[in-house]
């Protein structure tokens, strides 16, 4: 090995998870450029947005569309920031890079990525890999007795369900649902704007509202009934205090047990009732909002239907949840409960939520760099110069 450290970049549509394999965990960097009304002459790249004093009406410029890298100039600007002295400086000529891309990535996106890393950044060597492959590597690495893993990755642009059999993905079984964190936030914005307060321009804030207040219902129609009750019997309704960027920097859910006091007078609040669970519900019932696709649990069963019968008990026993939108309270229990009702009753159903679903894949990449086979999966700069892009087609399983 002629290198000391490997740079792992899980390049997501919402956040980039980046860092050297020698570090304890990834740095999570918004993979976008943001513009604020309050700071008229400065775009915020990635996590620079933390310096933004007033995040109301933030305008987003994203490199990804529908989960695929489309706006390369935007991505290049963000990468330049990530690899700069200001963020995580990389000495590329001496550093192999592991970078993720989505399942069924388009050919010209693959070529562009390869060209930028070899010809622009001059990286030592490169491994392009699906983020899900890193997650499954992580899973098999920590569950050495498991033969299979059914990965459910709920991302920003979409959700993927992917069966991994003895470490390899079964491409036939991959199912994509076109719902992820972005659709959920946009739906919450839409219904909130129609029902009480215009928040269509407040993606940043409403995303926080979603993260702070939404949950996955374990009994949807029962929760609907509770949300229709008045007074104390409605245990679902909450008030959410919006940030004003003077005294309140970040919004929060008001404690329902604390009676309102005079000090609350100037606070602007949102009342959240059935919104709290009808929003994440879209992941389980996309047709609730008119998207004619199966929900997560139905798609799990559909994915399994093309896997060899002898793998089914192993897949049901090793369902792994990753991605930011699995963080809603109740998510794991709902998947578990519904899969249990659909699975043959003599099979065990075991659903695991990653301890950190956002960096689970990145950490899989970190573990992979320690694999004895790791360096054989890389394409070096010399090989790329000798054989061109074709060597990437041969070596990378994406």
């Amino acid at each position: 090995m002629d290198y000391d450290d490997v740079f792992v970049l899980d390049n997501g549509a919402c956040t980039a998870k980046a860092g050297f394999a020698s570090s304890d965990d990834a740095r999570i960097i918004p993979n976008c450029i943001m513009k604020a009304k309050s700071e008229r002459r400065r775009p915020f790249i990635g996590d620079q947005v933390e310096e933004c004093r007033d995040a109301s009406g933030l305008f987003y410029i994203l490199p990804f569309q529908k989960g695929y890298l489309i706006n390369w100039d935007v991505q290049k600007n963000i990468w330049d920031y990530i690899f700069s002295a200001e963020c995580l400086p990389v000495n590329f000529p001496e550093t192999p890079v592991v970078i993720t891309e989505p399942y069924f990535n388009f050919n010209s996106c693959k070529e562009a990525m390869t060209e930028i890393f070899f010809e622009e950044y001059d990286c030592h060597s490169l491994l392009r890999i699906n983020a899900g492959d890193l997650s499954s590597y992580h899973y098999f690495n920590t569950n050495q007795n498991s033969l299979c893993c059914l990965l459910v990755d709920v991302g920003y642009s979409f959700t993927h369900i992917v069966p991994y059999i003895k470490g390899k993905k079964l491409k036939n079984g991959i199912r994509r649902i076109d719902i992820g964190g972005k659709v959920l936030t946009n739906h919450l914005k839409e219904i909130t704007s129609y029902r009480q307060l215009h928040v269509m321009d407040e993606t940043y804030v409403m995303n926080q509202v979603k993260e702070d207040a939404c949950f996955v219902s374990l009994d949807f129609y029962k929760d609907m009934k509770i949300a229709q009750k008045r007074g104390k019997e409605n245990t679902i309704v909450r008030d959410y205090v919006l940030p004003d960027y003077t005294s309140i920097r970040r919004g929060y859910v008001k404690d329902p047990a604390v009676a309102p006091s005079g000090e609350d007078g100037d606070q602007q609040t949102l009342r959240l009732n059935n919104e709290r669970f009808t929003v994440p519900e879209l992941l389980f019932n996309p047709s609730d909002v008119g998207i004619t696709q199966m929900g997560i649990v139905e798609a799990i069963v559909d994915s399994l239907s093309v896997c060899p019968a002898e793998t089914h008990p192993h897949l049901y026993r090793n369902i792994m949840l990753v991605g930011g939108s699995t963080l809603f309270p109740g998510f794991r229990d709902r998947v578990c409960k519904e899969v249990r009702t659909l699975a043959p009753c003599d099979f065990d159903v075991n659903v695991t939520l990653a301890k950190n679903p956002i960096t689970y894949s990145w950490n899989g990449g970190r573990l992979l760099t320690q694999d004895p086979e790791f360096s054989s999966r890389l394409v070096s700069k010399d090989e790329y110069e000798d054989h061109g892009y074709n060597i990437c087609l041969d070596r990378f399983d994406v």
Binding site: D80, A85, N172, T203, D288, G290
Partner: protein, 153 residues
Amino acid sequence: MATARESGRLKESGKVLDEATRKRRARKALEALELDNFHEDPHADLVMSKKVPKFQETLDNRSVKRKKGKSAEYYKQRFRKTFPQLVEEDRNYNPNPPNYMSAQAAPSKCPERRFCAVCGFPSTYTCVKCGARYCSIRCSGTHLDTRCLKWTA
């Protein structure tokens, strides 16, 4: 523009939305769920300050010896392809499943659930004019006053 066109046609069709308009409404609502922003770029009318470090300068500050980089504009030109173009290209490049198109989850086999377009609770009634759902007289009133035949969605 869409508002004018639609309200024009509504008058002709006796104030009931035809199937095509209903479908277009539904499609627009789905497209809105994919948008990154609903408002205009707040900096659109500005020339960026010279004080903002150019991306290339940030790069050059590093001690790493490297050739002169290409500008972001180069990448914009070099890899300019829209999402529909990429999907179309993939049809030719990967005509056989599994591919991007085939991986899409099939329609659900469960019956569609119905919710009030106003309050979000389960609904039993359908608006005869536009096909939206509502749950009560109160929500029906709100619906008629706001969205029904008006172009607000």
